[in-house]
């Protein structure tokens, strides 16, 4: 498509970008240099917050006016930094297209997807109304969205993968020379991820365009990228051919020792058990006011002994979180019972034995509170006092963090604080306690995740805690769980040790994966 100018497609020299914050600038991209050839696939690897997205936005001139950008970006010989808005608008979407993160948020909720694709075309080409529609439809078909009714749908009616395909269609509809894809698969399950990446590659090749694939997951890059650069804290720390670079980048989780199977004490009493627990939700349609019963958990029986870890795995929407809340006593089951030490307990006493760490540990901390206040809250509720500094130490947080606001902590620190607080709430030192982790590690970066797993396992040894681990894939469960229960549609469909499950016949596990892929985001 673009064979006009010789030389590199994209030439970036000492690109820097900084956001304005109170009292100065916070650098997000520092002194980047990069050459990108035509048809090349470049992987950009880095943990969240390292400046990958900022770099992409900076070279397209899409950073907010308050941000400071310096350096040079030459695209097909044309300087983009400092170029006029009108010129940039001609390039964006037509020459360089961008596939944003978070497909749901990146699509206009009130416009049909085919129109959203057509709208991109409309910004760059003068065609008849019918042609806009036709071309948009063709682009969607190329992106794998073939069904008419899917094309006429609104974003919220599509699955995550389908939405991603719409974004891809928007990116390719004008036949750009460069496609920048920002974490195109972060919201997807492994199966869809593979499909989307393959699709993207083939489309880009078909256009003879270059692709910059931004991701935090090295696994994606190994099969796709020609070259990989690794970014850390705004700077490029490593660059080179994909295989070379990726070899040096190893998942920190893989370094963790896989625990030996603990002896199953069949006679030991369960510290936590559920018997036929059932829960449904009421939903009311806004206009018709009809009541609908949506069952979330249907008759689940579980048992957990002290010091052991049970992983509950299943696709989103399978009822895992509801189960976790039921077990934590935050909600009452419609039927069945939750047993602690064999007794059905009133909620008050329960709180000293069972605590839950939420899906997003950061969100479970009131941002208005200081660390000390957050940590002291369960103590105050239960009328106790304790040494806060020591508690912080136990989870590896510095003592001087006590006076900071929880909102100022990093993601990993918040997770640690949440654990510390849960431990503070588990006051009963005589009897075994249970900690429920509701996908609490999912939002963390790999390195932090590894540290957290280590911490949790240490704590389990020290205090003989029982863990209930809620997760949507087996990656973490493999390292921590003694037993795995696979949940689908509110029921337990599979049980066993993690290794047993991994070695299950492919068909059965892929059924699980498929269920996951279809599972709609709630």
């Amino acid at each position: 498509m673009s064979e006009s100018t010789p030389g590199p497609l994209l030439h970036i020299q000492s690109l820097s970008a900084a956001y304005r914050v109170e009292g100065g600038y916070l650098p997000a991209v520092r002194n980047w240099n990069l050459l990108l050839g035509r048809g090349e696939v470049l992987g950009l690897l880095g943990e969240s917050g390292c400046g990958k997205t900022t770099a992409a936005l900076a070279l397209m001139g899409l950073l907010p006016a308050s941000a400071q950008v310096s350096g040079s970006v030459r695209f097909q010989g044309m300087e983009l930094i400092g170029a006029g808005e009108a010129e940039l608008e001609k390039i964006r979407g037509a020459q360089i297209s961008f596939i944003p993160q978070e497909p749901l948020l990146s699509l206009n909720p009130v416009i049909r997807v085919v129109d959203q694709v057509a709208e991109v075309l409309r910004a760059h080409r003068r065609l008849s109304a019918a042609e806009y529609q036709d071309r948009a439809r063709i682009a969607l078909e190329h992106a794998g969205l073939k069904a008419r009714d899917l094309q006429q749908a609104y974003p919220h009616q599509l699955s995550g993968g389908q939405r991603q395909r719409v974004l891809i269609a928007q990116a390719i509809v004008c036949g750009p020379a460069l496609v920048i894809a920002d974490e195109p698969t972060s919201a997807l399950d492994p199966v869809s991820t593979r499909e989307i990446v393959t699709l993207l590659l083939s489309l880009v090749r078909g256009l003879n365009a270059s692709l910059v694939l931004i991701t935090h997951d090295p696994r994606i890059l190994s099969a796709t990228a020609d070259r990989v650069i690794v970014m850390h804290d705004g700077t490029i720390v490593e660059a080179g051919p994909a295989q070379e670079v990726l070899r040096s980048v190893r998942s920190p989780i893989r370094g963790l020792p896989v625990p030996a199977d603990k002896p199953t004490d069949a006679g030991a009493a369960a510290v936590l058990g559920t018997r036929g627990v059932t829960k449904s939700y009421h939903r009311r349609s806004k206009l018709t006011a009809r009541h609908e019963e949506v069952p979330a958990v249907r008759g689940v029986d579980l048992e957990l002994q002290a010091g052991r870890t049970l992983a509950v795995v299943g696709p989103s929407g399978a009822g895992k979180s509801t189960l976790a809340r039921l077990m934590a006593g935050l909600e009452k089951p419609d039927a069945g019972e939750i047993l602690v030490d064999g007794r059905e307990l009133g909620s008050r006493a329960l709180h000293r034995r069972i605590q839950m760490i939420f899906q997003d540990p950061g969100a479970s901390l009131n941002p208005r509170f200081t660390v000390a206040e957050a940590l002291a809250e369960p103590l105050a509720v239960q009328g106790r006092r304790s040494n806060l500094a020591a508690m912080l130490q136990r989870v590896g947080l510095p003592e001087n963090a006590l006076s900071r606001r929880t909102s100022q902590l990093s993601g990993g620190q918040k997770a640690r604080l949440a654990v510390a607080r849960a431990l503070a709430a588990l006051s009963d030192r005589e009897s075994p306690c249970v900690l429920i982790l509701d996908e609490s590690l999912a939002s963390l970066d790999l390195s932090v995740k590894a540290q957290m797993i280590q911490l949790l396992m240490d704590l389990q040894r020290q205090r003989s805690l029982a863990y209930v681990l809620i997760a949507h894939d087996l990656s973490v469960a493999i390292h921590m769980a003694d037993e795995v229960a696979v949940v689908s549609d509110g029921r337990i469909v599979e049980r066993g040790s993690p290794r047993e499950l991994q070695s299950l016949p492919h068909s059965r596990f892929s059924a699980l994966a498929a269920a996951q892929a279809l599972g709609k985001d709630v």
């Binding site: 964006r92 961008f98 416009i111 709208e119 910004a123 609104y154 009616q157």
Partner: protein, 296 residues
């Protein structure tokens, strides 16, 4: 069904409360007649009985409910006519006035609000923000008086034309609308999908009106429902000042004269408009927003 019940509950509540309040307000329809030297106390008592002023409140209420059923909404003491026959022609005039100003103010507020949001912090935006603050700070009535004066002095005042009252009502409604449009649009402008649209090269009027405005419609539609709800009640005092033959003069006169059912009538009418306005707002929301219309 549930909505309908709620609406009925609301209407019943309003009518009962209005009855109670009106009963509590001292004085009655025949109060002034007492000063009339030609009337003897016996005549007054007879009149009082004729107008059923001597009934108890529940009796009056039940009586009124009956009249609602037959569509007359009670009898006006002063006019000796069913309230409904008095209400409709004037309500029509009022709605003609308010509907014109409603349409006009939205037609002005939408592009102006979007424009002001698009050029955020430009001179236009600042100028508008100052003008809206000032307009918001001026009571409608003072505004009406001032405009009336200006109109009279410059000679463009024509009693029969809509211009003056509509100008007053539009100026009174604009600040709120402008602010809401601007903030709703700015809210959406900060969404990732707008950045995504810009990354696709979508810009200018198409971006603001085709991409952003429909997505910003939700709070505006609710607001529109509320404007509809104000079709009856928003102009009453202004009508009195500029002399528009709508419900305003009738209602205020009825309050002053303690013409019981003639006061209840417009109150209930405006309550009905409120209920309908909110309902229409919800319905529009349903029609305009696919997220609500199409449940997954």
């Amino acid at each position: 069904m549930r909505r309908l019940l709620q609406a009925l509950f609301l209407l019943a509540g309003i009518s009962i409360l209005s009855f109670i309040l009106l009963e509590l307000a001292p004085g009655d329809f025949l109060g002034e007649a007492k000063l009339n030297p030609q009337l003897s106390p016996a005549t007054l008592a007879a009149l009082r009985h004729q107008y059923a002023l001597d009934q108890s409140l529940p009796e009056k209420y039940i009586h009124w409910l009956g009249s609602v059923a037959d569509g007359s909404f009670g009898i006006s003491f002063a006019y000796n006519l069913p309230v409904s026959t008095l209400l409709w022609p004037r309500a029509r005039a009022t709605v003609r006035l308010t509907l014109t100003s409603l349409v006009l103010s939205w037609l002005i507020a939408l592009p102006l609000g979007v424009w002001s949001a698009a050029g955020r912090n430009s001179w236009l935006d600042r100028g508008l923000s100052f003008a809206t603050s000032a307009l918001l700070a001026l009571p409608d009535l003072a505004l009406a008086c001032l405009l009336l004066f200006v109109a009279v002095r410059t000679g463009w005042y024509r009693s029969s034309s809509l211009t003056l009252p509509v100008t007053v009502l539009v100026l009174a409604a604009l600040p709120t609308l402008l602010r809401h449009v601007r903030s709703a649009v700015l809210d959406v402008a900060g969404q990732p999908y707008v950045r995504a649209a810009r990354s696709h090269g979508i810009s200018g009027a198409r971006l603001w009106f085709r991409w952003i405005l429909p997505a910003a419609a939700n709070p505006l539609v609710s607001l529109f429902g509320l404007s509809l709800a104000g079709l009856i009640s928003s102009s009453l005092l202004v009508e009195t000042i500029v002399g528009w033959p709508g419900l305003g003069p009738l209602f205020l006169e009825a309050i002053a004269a303690r013409d019981f059912y003639l006061v209840i009538g417009p109150v209930m009418l405006s309550a009905v408009f409120l209920v309908i306005g909110v309902l229409i707002g919800d319905l529009l929301l349903y029609l305009l927003d696919p997220r609500i219309r199409i449940e997954t």
